[in-house]
């Protein structure tokens, strides 16, 4: 009951259009005030101060910075060009190359929104010029862009790990196989749907010479994620250090290898990254206030008790949670869903003996769906803003992909080994 009131108040406050971070803080503060009295006042600034006082969270601005540097250095263009030279002439051509570039892009950014944004600039116009309709094009980019949070590095995974103390190295690595399977499914879909459409203007098959030249040029950018994620997995770096190395390498690549960065770009890069960082950190601060209240109210304990009283099985529990996440994902955005749901549910997950890494992966895949489901799918909005197309068009375009993602989610639930194979 309490949980229900909490959810309703969160949704009502956020619906007023208040900045979400502040809104979550307000709800948390009021609940705390109601249950604990005036001690809420002095603990408020303390919780907010401690919210961002974590070494693991420092990885977030670092990863944002890394992907911003690479974006400014036009690495996405280069990757798209390279991939297109390899697969562009095959059935499905540019669409397949968009999916693959999104997957590679996902390995240099931790955010799906950033991934979809840069891809809609890079891959959108070429696809439309070649005769793809804009519904399909932008729906595809919105959907493939969500790979950003499944393929490591991933900011939502970092947040998940910082709340639950699940190993971030293991979590990152576990995203790889599901990520690759999803890429495969998306490719198969676009080939079946569009591969044998004769109206497309075919691309010439590139010579081996051209492919070799471009691949050689792109190779350092392709190695960067291997160093960053591999370093974390091997235990050589902490995620924050790995992200730091990523930033250093990205700068070196931009200035000395590609020479596409100018010294004057640095200020812009830091400014842009600061804005995205502040947005996420304020969300985290507000969510922590809410989390503090949730812990004090012992909602999780009540939930564990209800579930053991009714003898709910693991499978039913997971299905219910996925349904809840799907609904929340439609109306909220990813960071807030993580901070609202994980602190409440994770103790239950542990109590039921569910594998935490598997739970994290299906959680993240559900959040990918959240990014492209209306009314609030962040990827839809970002692409609509960049491509100057009506939001409804992109929503309709991404609908088939929602079905694919749901099918994929179901696969992951039925076969947990897909998510855990690399860590067992």
């Amino acid at each position: 009951m309490l949980l229900f009131i909490l959810f309703i108040s969160i949704l009502m406050v956020i619906a007023t259009g208040i900045p979400v971070g502040i809104g979550l803080g307000v709800v948390g503060f009021l609940f705390y005030l109601f249950f604990e009295g005036s001690s809420a006042f002095i603990s408020l600034p303390q919780t907010i101060f401690e919210s961002n006082n974590s070494f693991l969270l420092t990885a977030i601005p670092m990863f944002i910075l890394m992907s911003e540097i690479l974006r400014k250095a036009n690495v996405t263009e280069l990757l798209f060009e390279t991939v297109t030279k390899w697969v562009g002439h095959l059935p499905g051509g540019l669409a397949v190359s968009t999916v693959i570039t999104c997957a590679i892009g996902a390995s240099i950014t931790g955010s799906s929104v950033a991934n979809a944004a840069s891809m809609s600039i890079v891959a959108g116009p070429p696809m439309i010029n070649r005769g793809y309709d804009s519904k399909f094009t932008y729906g595809l980019i919105a959907a493939s862009g969500t790979l950003g949070i499944l393929i490591p590095p991933s900011i939502p995974m970092l947040l998940f790990a910082s709340i639950t103390e699940v190993s971030i190295g293991k979590l990152f690595i576990s995203g790889l196989i599901p990520g690759l399977i999803l890429v495969l499914m998306l490719c198969v879909y676009v080939i079946l749907k569009d591969g044998f459409n004769n109206k497309r203007i075919k691309l010439e098959k590139a010579s081996f010479q051209v492919r070799y030249q471009l691949t050689k040029k792109a190779l350092p950018a392709l190695c960067l994620p291997i160093i960053v994620v591999g370093g974390i997995y091997a235990g050589f770096f902490t995620p924050t250090e790995a992200a730091g190395i990523g930033v250093l390498l990205a700068f070196l690549l931009g200035f000395f290898w590609y020479r596409t960065l100018k010294i004057t770009d640095i200020l812009d890069i830091f400014k842009e990254s600061l804005h995205s960082t502040c947005m996420i950190l304020l969300l985290i601060a507000g969510s922590m206030v809410l989390g503090h209240a949730i812990t004090t109210m012992q909602i999780s304990d009540q939930l564990v008790k209800i579930i053991s009283d009714y003898d709910v099985s693991q499978f039913v529990f997971i299905i219910l949670i996925m349904l809840l996440l799907f609904i929340l994902g439609c109306i909220l955005e990813v960071v807030s869903v993580i901070y609202i749901v994980v602190p409440i549910l994770f103790p239950v997950v542990e109590a039921l003996g569910i594998e935490p890494i598997w739970f994290a992966i299906i959680f993240i895949v559900n959040m990918e769906i959240a990014l492209i489901t209306p009314p609030l799918g962040m990827n839809l909005y970002v692409i609509s803003g960049i491509a100057k197309r009506p939001i409804a068009e992109i929503m309709i375009g991404s609908m088939p992909f929602v079905l694919i993602f749901l099918f994929f989610l179901f696969l992951l639930i039925l076969f947990p080994a897909i998510s855990t194979i690399l860590i067992s």
């Binding site: 502040i22 006042f41 400014k271 502040c278």
Partner: protein
């Protein structure tokens, strides 16, 4: 009058943003310095980890006011978009007032927290033993600037209604 106030607040937010950018640069360099010092020269520093966690507070709270000014904080306007202009503005005044009150409370009790940390002489639990009130200063400063920005938003919306 409003224009003058607006310019001053915008200057303050911009100034705070610049502090946040400097903190961001320091954060980045200390992370990179630490990882090189540790893995290449095998000489880990004792200060890096702590500096980094203070800098991130600085980034978060000094940067936020300017981000609010340029409307880059996440706001969900699905429901309010359905309202007529008048109701939408009234709703905006309401939500900004809630935001303003929240930020003022954080500002006010943030000052108290600092007073308390100062009187009790609370220091960090690391080797640096930095008095905690210094990094905690980011809270009242940041939320003061946020309050000003919220206040301005309210005044601007009221002006639009008249």
């Amino acid at each position: 009058m409003l224009n003058f106030f607006d310019t001053q607040v915008s200057r303050l937010s911009l100034f705070f943003q610049n502090i946040a950018i400097i903190a961001f640069v320091i954060l980045t360099t200390s992370v990179i310095y630490e990882v090189i010092a540790r893995s290449v020269f095998n000489k880990p520093t004792i200060w890096s980890l702590e500096i980094v966690t203070y800098m991130i507070s600085c980034v978060a709270f000094f940067g936020s006011a300017y981000v609010l000014r340029i409307n880059k904080h996440l706001e969900i306007n699905l429901l309010t978009q359905l309202f007529s202009n008048k109701y939408r503005r009234l709703m905006k005044i309401f939500s900004d007032t809630v935001g303003l009150l929240f930020c003022l409370i954080v500002f006010f009790y943030g000052c108290k927290l600092i007073e308390l940390s100062y009187i009790l002489g609370v220091v960090s639990v690391s080797e640096l033993r930095i008095p905690l009130w210094i990094p905690q200063l980011t809270i009242p400063f940041g939320f003061f600037a946020l309050s000003l920005e919220f206040f301005l938003r309210i005044v601007k919306t009221i002006k639009k209604i008249n």
